[in-house]
């Protein structure tokens, strides 16, 4: 299943908008679904489009975090 992530909460429950099903032949259950809510406890993984992840920002954030821990 594929969609635009609209919100996440502290349990990693996901809300997706404009949902599409990757293989409608095999999984026709959600063909008519446009928006959905997924219980976080059942999620195995979330694939993010690589070009939309700002790795520089993440690396800087983890470095800052690590520096804080060292100085403590």
């Amino acid at each position: 299943m594929c969609g635009t992530l609209s919100s996440v909460d502290q349990y990693l429950n996901l809300k997706l908008k404009e949902v599409t099903v990757n293989d409608g032949e095999k999984h026709p259950h959600m063909l008519s679904v446009s928006n959905c809510f997924i219980r976080g406890s059942v999620v195995r993984y979330v694939q993010l489009p690589a070009d939309e992840v700002d790795t520089q920002l993440l690396q800087d954030a983890t470095r800052n975090e690590a520096e804080k821990n060292v100085s403590r």
Partner: protein, 103 residues
């Protein structure tokens, strides 16, 4: 203390009184009108039916009426677009029944 699972109450507010499709942990698929829910994701479904998928025949729709589903069993709550749903010919749909959730 026992771990309690509480969802954000705003999460499903927009689905109330809409047709929703529910997939449960044992792989079953329910469709009905969402009448209510609580912080544990317990759901009240009105005019509900179960869609039973099979590879040998079309989708069987079992009428259930008013149903309460316990939140533990809920996997996906999907808002159904009725315009698309009414165009699907369920007698022609063949699919493997969904497996149950493995933790």
């Amino acid at each position: 203390m026992k771990f309690r699972y509480f969802i954000n109450m705003a999460a499903l507010e927009s689905y109330v009184n809409h047709t929703v499709g529910i997939i449960t942990a044992d792989g079953r698929h329910f469709v009905g009108t969402l009448k209510g829910f609580d912080q544990s994701l317990n759901l009240i479904l009105d005019d509900s039916h179960e869609r039973v998928y099979s590879t040998t025949q079309g989708v069987e729709q079992v009428v259930l009426g008013l149903h309460i589903i316990r939140g533990d069993n809920v996997v996906i709550v999907g808002e159904v677009d009725e315009a698309i749903d009414s165009r699907i010919d369920f007698s022609k749909i063949r699919a493997e029944p969904l497996p149950s959730i493995v933790h």
